[in-house]
């Protein structure tokens, strides 16, 4: 990760009008969304596992994965907003479908935590939030991939996969792919730490 950040600032990149040096944001902004997708798919998987086999362990893992996904999603949204200010000229625009729909997706997952906090009974909470999470994650591909591609947009990748298309210069890819792997690794590590402390917390409470 450190290498990625350092080299990401250092290598010369092809100059593109409008973007100029901010094209380096590709190494930071785009992996956020990749990581978010991975975290939400993990949450989806854990929620299904929970409904299949009702152990609190799966619920804990699903909650953590959703939290991490939300964290990276908010990172992606804020960095996208900052980037947009200097390339599109505005912090936020309601004409850009991808921006608004990703904000909507974040709201869905904020609602997941609101829903969780509404129950006192852990079993009930785990069940209902698992069902909600399965529905929530299913909307993500629609909100982030399908609808934005049907609408005119300034965001790159409106007509295909932005990350793997030919627009991305080969020099950028040497850093871009390790950056994705690095951020996903970081998110999995954070999830692991969070899961461990939650487990210790539960064990501690049981012994009281």
């Amino acid at each position: 990760m450190t290498m990625v950040i350092t080299i990401g600032f250092l290598i010369p990149i092809p100059q593109i009008d409008i973007l100029e040096e901010s094209a380096r944001n590709l190494f930071l902004h785009v992996p956020m969304w990749f990581t978010m997708m991975v975290a939400f798919s993990m949450a989806f998987y854990y929620s299904i596992r929970y409904l299949n086999n009702e152990e609190m362990d799966w619920d804990r893992k699903a909650e953590t994965a959703t939290a991490i996904g939300l964290l990276f999603g908010i990172c992606g949204l804020l960095t996208g907003s900052l980037w947009a200010r200097f390339t599109w000229g505005t912090w936020w625009t309601f004409a850009e479908p991808r921006m608004n729909l990703s904000a909507l997706a974040m709201m869905i997952f904020v609602a997941y935590f609101v829903l969780r906090s509404a129950f006192n009974d852990p079993v009930k909470r785990a069940k209902i939030s698992a069902v909600y999470n399965i529905f929530g994650v299913t909307t993500i591909p629609f909100l982030l991939y399908i609808i934005p591609r049907q609408l005119p947009s300034l965001h790159p990748g409106a007509e295909g996969n932005p990350a793997f298309s030919e627009i991305t210069a080969p020099e950028l890819r040497y850093i871009f792919y390790p950056a994705i792997i690095g951020f996903i690794g970081l998110s999995i590590w954070l999830m692991d730490i969070t899961n461990r402390y939650k487990r210790i917390k539960d064990l501690n409470e049981q012994r009281l």
């Binding site: 950040i5 040096e21 902004h29 908010i74 200010r85 599109w88 000229g89 625009t93 954070l190 969070t194």
Partner: protein, 84 residues
């Protein structure tokens, strides 16, 4: 500062964005009237935007780690109370 958004007529069928928004999307136009912060960010080929983006990510992750740290100290305290 001559760069501005040039919206190519999109390959897609309808291009409603150009007509309604190209006036307000001239990113660096009128930068002289904006605040000192915006002007600083727009200098040096927008490299400060990259810095800003990395700082946002860093602080959000730091916030999360600090939160985990606090929770761990709470558990630690309650464990110590039990053992004493």
């Amino acid at each position: 500062m001559t760069n501005r958004i040039i919206q190519e007529p999109a390959d897609t069928t309808v291009d409603t964005l150009t007509n309604s928004y190209s006036d307000s999307w001239q990113a660096l136009e009128g930068i002289e009237q904006s605040s000192a912060f915006i002007q600083m960010m727009a200098s040096n080929d927008l490299i400060f935007v990259v810095l800003g983006v990395s700082l946002i990510i860093w602080f959000i992750l730091l916030f999360f780690i600090i939160k985990v740290d606090r929770n761990i100290s709470e558990i630690e305290k309650s464990l110590e109370e039990k053992h004493s």
